[in-house]
Each structure stands twice: as C-alpha cells, then as structure tokens.
C-alpha cells in the first residue's frame, strides 16, 4: 500500500516556459498593449488636431511634419494599433453575445483579427499616407 500523504506533500513545480501562448492570448495581449498605446498617443492626436485647425500656416506645419518618411512609418504603426484594437474589440463584443465561443471558432477569429488588421493597415496606409 503506497503512502498517499508523502505523495501529496511533494512540491509542485510547473515550468511556465513550457506553456505556449495560444493565438487568442496573443490577440488579447496585443489588444491590451495597443489600448495602452492609444491612451498615451491621444495626446499626440489632440496636439496635431489642434495645430491643424489653428491657422493655414499651422496646418501647413502639420502637413510637413506628418509627411516626413519617419513620421509616416510611425503613423503606419499607430494605424495598426488602432485597427487591431478595433477589430479585436469587435471580436470581444461578439464573444460577449456568445458568438464564436467554441475553441475552433475562437482560434479562427483570432487569426482573422491578426490578418485583417495587418492587411487593412497596409491598404488604408497606402491610400491615406502615400
């Protein structure tokens, strides 16, 4: 008869590095990260909105600043953050009303969010920035 109490006292040690990050978790953490980024960058958005509506000269200044190649790359990054947050948010709203909650569709919709936000970033970025 094996002694169960000894077995129970054994320390449990989980190597958390062995757990992989499933796609829905990737979408989730990117949703959080992009949200925090958008909170901070609302300051920049308000600054440029303010300048662009202040006077024709200030508008020209904003246009020049935003058309610099480096600033265009920054805007592309921001556009991605916004689109990812928007699409992942729509996914969460659907999950809230119990649409696509089973594992297969939750995984599929995660891939869709990742792919469509990237594709839309390139399309909209191309149309609006170049």
């Amino acid at each position: 008869m094996p002694d169960v109490t000894v077995k129970r006292k054994r320390p449990l040690w989980y190597n958390l590095n062995l757990f992989n990050l499933p796609v829905p978790a990737v979408v989730s953490i990117l949703h959080r990260g992009s949200g925090a980024l958008l909170f901070v960058l609302t300051f920049v958005l308000l600054y440029f909105l303010d300048r662009s509506l202040a006077s024709p000269d200030a508008f020209e200044g904003v246009r020049q600043a935003l058309s610099h190649p480096f600033m265009k790359l920054v805007q592309l990054g921001l556009l991605w953050a916004l689109l990812h947050h928007l699409l992942a948010g729509i996914r969460y709203l659907l999950l809230d009303v119990h649409v696509g909650v089973d594992l297969a569709s939750a995984r599929a919709s995660s891939y869709i969010v990742l792919a469509v936000s990237l594709a839309l970033t390139l399309v909209l970025g191309g149309v609006l920035l170049w």
Binding site: R32, G35, A36, L38, F39, T42, F43, L46, L49, D50, S52, L53, A54, S55, P56, F59, E60, L82, L86, G89, I90, L93, D96, L124, V127, L128
Partner: protein, 114 residues
C-alpha cells in the same frame, strides 16, 4: 459559471457596460471618419476646417472624445488593477490617469469650439 445576482454593489457592471457602449460609438465614428477621409480627401486648411466646424461634426467628435475618455478610464483601470499591486502606487497612477483624461476632455472641447 457564476450566477451572481446584481443588486446593491454593482460588481463593475456599469464600467463594463460603459466600456462596451463607448466602444460601439467610437467604432461607428472611426469607420465613418475613415470613409469620409478616403471619399472627400479634404485638400487644404479651408476644406479641413470647414468639415470639422460643421455642427454635426463638432457634436459627433466631442461625443467621440467623451467615449474615448470613458473607455480609456475603464481600460487603464483594468490594466493598473492587474499589474500594480501596491495600493498607494496604484491609487496615485489612477489619479494620474484621471487627470490626463480631464485634460484631454477640456482640450478636445477647446479645439472643437475655438
């Protein structure tokens, strides 16, 4: 499955609802704004400021920023509650977020009705 009866303390239900309703409003505004930008492509200052000083555009944009502030508050509070364990530090950061959002609100109103 938690079958919680929502009476008395509201268990974050109001914040949860505000986050979702503000999200829906912002999503509609952003999509309409992007469609307008691609379709109209306001060429210079005149066209841009004419578009932004329309009565409906001012109201819609102000509501957008109001939604953003509600939404960002719930989201930032969630983040701070998850990662910042010392109560004093978390409280300080929450007050900081509220102050930043108050500045955003005043600034947005000032920009739209200059």
């Amino acid at each position: 499955m938690v079958n919680r009866v929502v009476v008395g303390a509201h268990y974050g239900l109001r914040g949860w609802l505000a986050q979702r309703f503000s999200a829906v409003f912002m999503a509609l505004y952003i999509v309409l704004f992007l469609v307008a930008m691609v379709a109209v492509r306001p060429a210079g200052f005149e066209a841009w400021s004419a578009l932004m000083s329309q009565g409906w555009m001012r109201v819609a944009t102000l509501l957008f920023f109001a939604s953003l502030i509600l939404h960002a508050w719930v989201g930032m509070r969630d983040i701070l509650m998850d990662y910042i364990k010392p109560t004093g530090l978390r409280l300080g950061l929450e007050v900081g977020v509220i102050l930043v959002l108050a500045v955003y609100a005043a600034w947005a109103a000032q920009i739209l009705w200059r």
